[in-house]
């Protein structure tokens, strides 16, 4: 599904990703954990093609295609989805038109017919219900005046509507209470079909109790410093990242 080889990337003048390798197969769930500022969000931005995030070195292949050569919207149309850590507010665009354009753009890219208004509405209503968002939110501006939790649920609602092949969830759990966390996790789990893959970026083991990962990676200072199974997340939960800092300082010294 996704192969990242020796990726180096910078934002403005600062190199943030420094030699990252990752291989994700269809149906797998990979958790990426790591301290603040490690480069987790940066990785998501680089993979999605955000302007200003420059790849210095390395390769990324997504379902056989060279991801790094594609435009942002082409990556999305090819099935890559990024759930934002900080979803963007767009007051003048309604969720309804936003989602409709988006769903139909994806359908078009897959060679499917556009949804009629009625078909779209039916799907949107079901997705709203699934993530516990009131229906009138469709009429409101994109993320406008939403609480932190509502924004996160909106990202998951989009995930459900857009049916991507690979979804990167950037701290979709931060700032959520247990109930909201459950809603987010259920939303994600409902999309697991053995073919779709997920990268779950999180700070806490908590989310991984609900979305069970196949692999856990620790990202620090721009690369993956440790990989393991679900038990690695529990270790991190118990001991924090302090060991990391020391190990790395040792390495550098």
């Amino acid at each position: 599904m996704l192969t990242i080889k020796d990726l180096h990337a910078r934002v403005e003048e600062k190199t943030i990703i420094k030699g990252l390798n990752l291989e994700i197969k269809p149906g797998e769930v990979h958790a990426i954990m790591g301290p603040n500022g490690a480069g987790k969000s940066t990785l998501g931005y680089v993979l999605s093609g955000r302007e200003g995030y420059e790849v210095e070195q390395g390769e990324v292949t997504f379902n056989g295609a060279n991801l790094l050569e594609m435009e942002v919207e082409e990556r999305a149309q090819a099935g890559l989805f990024l759930a934002f850590q900080y979803p963007v507010e767009i007051p003048g665009v309604s969720n309804m038109e936003f989602m409709k354009e988006s769903v139909n753009a994806m359908r078009k890219a897959r060679g499917e017919d556009e949804l009629s208004s009625a078909e779209f509405l039916k799907k949107a209503k079901a997705a709203c219900k699934q993530v516990n968002l009131p229906l009138d939110f469709l009429k409101r501006g994109v993320n406008e005046g939403f609480s932190g939790g509502e924004k996160k649920r909106n990202e998951i609602m989009q995930l459900i509507m857009l049916e991507p092949k690979l979804a990167i969830l950037d701290e979709s759990d931060s700032g959520l209470d247990v109930d909201a966390l459950q809603v987010v996790a259920n939303g994600v789990n409902s999309q697991r079909d053995g073919k779709r893959s997920f990268i779950v970026v999180t700070h806490y083991q908590r989310l991984l109790d609900f979305i069970e990962p196949d692999y856990v990676h620790i990202l620090a200072q721009g690369k993956i410093v440790k990989s393991g199974g679900p038990e690695l997340a529990k270790e991190v939960e118990a001991s924090g990242y302090a060991w990391l800092g020391q190990a790395q300082e040792g390495e550098e010294a």
């Binding site: 963007v88 767009i90 003048g92 354009e101």
Partner: protein, 415 residues
């Protein structure tokens, strides 16, 4: 001197109704006016050439219905070419609401006519002397009128018309008034409205100036706010051969709050001119004005936003923001902020910008597979649509949104 104005003055002499004494004062002022040219500040970017020698019929027998708006159950008062066609006696009015024709003498009319609108507006004076047709809306103290009142003004072809709306909101009263104008034929319509808003009263106001094509529409909405009153006004304008609107919001009492959103969408070659003046004459008032325009190819928009904070108006909070989006190199905007602040303890912000795309918002849309061209359309229209979403009346917003979207898409195609 314009031949048209000379005619107006001649015709004014023949107007004889119960308002004649007041009209005479306006006529005297009108006679002192010189015909605006390029050096007249208020008309600097808007040529009146099309009016100068205009000679149109002064009445018609055209019939027209009020444009239907789904979900809006309004009390409709319809003018066709300046003729009030709604039989007022047949209206079923809620308690606390009185609606009269301007032809009938009333205290409410006397109290408001020429008392809110400043007398320096040339076409306002024309309207003062010629508008015999009009409605007087009188809302009693404490009355809460839920049903919106809509004044429809339709201009057909080859006709000149002058209409007046006078609104008086009693203490602690609440009402919604919609001024809904349209017409595409070669016409001249002046439509002026005056709103006297008493202490603690709340007015929700809309002005849809949807004249297009050869229509010439010159008008104004003028508001006087007493203590602790509230105004929430939205103006949506198209351009036409010539559309010119003057809005005055006068804080005549303390602790009044005014919100004024306006948006103009100009199809190719249209002309639209909005002059807004916020007068803070008393302390502790707040004003928030958002003006946003999208201007098509070879169209021209003029926005003049004046904020005048008088010496006594301490603790005023006034914000005016004007953003414009030009759809082509041939599109033109003349935007001018005018700040006059004579009080020292005030907060006042005034900005005029050419709209820029929010890169983060664009990125967000792209990550959802929306192509760049469509994303730009959504964001560009979004900045006007935001004001539509902000309208308190959802039926009106739902009606306007697709109409404006369509207009915007047509504008994009032709730019």
């Amino acid at each position: 001197m314009s031949q048209w104005l000379a005619h107006v003055i001649e015709r004014a002499a023949a107007v004889d109704d119960w308002l004649s004494p007041v009209r005479a004062e306006a006529l005297a002022k009108l006679k002192e006016q010189t015909w605006p040219g390029r050096r007249t500040e208020a008309w600097r970017y808007t040529s009146l050439h099309a009016v100068e020698d205009l000679s149109l019929a002064t009445e018609s027998s055209v019939q027209a219905e009020a444009p239907a708006i789904a979900g809006l159950d309004a009390l409709d008062l319809v003018f066709v070419d300046g003729r009030l066609t709604t039989p007022l006696a047949d209206l079923d009015l809620p308690e606390g609401l009185t609606i009269r024709a301007l032809t009938d003498k009333s205290e409410a009319a006397e109290h408001v006519f020429t008392k809110v609108k400043p007398s320096h507006h040339l076409f306002g004076l024309v309207n003062d002397v010629l508008a015999t047709q009009g409605v007087v809306i009188d809302v009693a103290q404490d009355a809460v009128i839920e049903r919106p009142i809509r004044v429809v003004n339709f201009a057909s072809d080859n006709v000149e018309s002058h209409t007046r709306v006078l609104v008086s909101l009693g203490k602690n009263a609440k009402a919604t008034v919609i001024e809904h104008g349209s017409g595409t034929g070669h016409s001249l319509n002046t439509a002026f409205a005056e709103y006297d808003i008493a202490n603690e009263a709340r007015l929700e106001h809309y002005r849809f100036a949807l004249h297009q094509g050869d229509a010439i529409h010159v008008g104004g909405s003028h508001f006087k706010l007493a203590n602790k009153s509230r105004l929430n006004s939205t103006l949506i304008g198209y351009g036409s051969q010539l559309t010119r609107l003057d809005v005055d919001i006068i804080h005549a009492g303390e602790h009044a709050h005014a919100k004024f959103n306006n948006a103009y969408l100009l199809a190719p070659k249209e002309h639209f001119d909005l002059h807004s003046t916020i007068e803070h004459a008393m302390p502790n008032g707040t004003t928030e004005e958002n003006a946003r325009g999208i201007i098509g190819d070879k169209a021209k928009a003029v926005f003049n936003g004046r904020i005048h904070i008088h010496r006594d108006a301490q603790k005023t909070l006034a914000e005016l923001n004007n953003r414009n989006l030009l759809l082509s190199r041939g599109a033109q905007i003349n935007t001018k902020p005018e700040l006059e602040i004579y009080a020292d303890d005030v907060q006042c912000a005034h900005g005029a910008t050419v709209a820029e795309i929010d890169e983060e918002a664009l990125y967000y849309l792209l990550t959802r597979g929306i192509n760049k061209q469509m994303a730009l359309v959504m964001l560009n229209f979004g900045f006007v649509q935001e004001l539509v979403f902000d309208m308190p009346n959802k039926a009106l917003a739902d009606w306007l949104q697709p109409i404006l979207k369509q207009r915007f898409e047509d504008m994009m195609e032709r730019s």
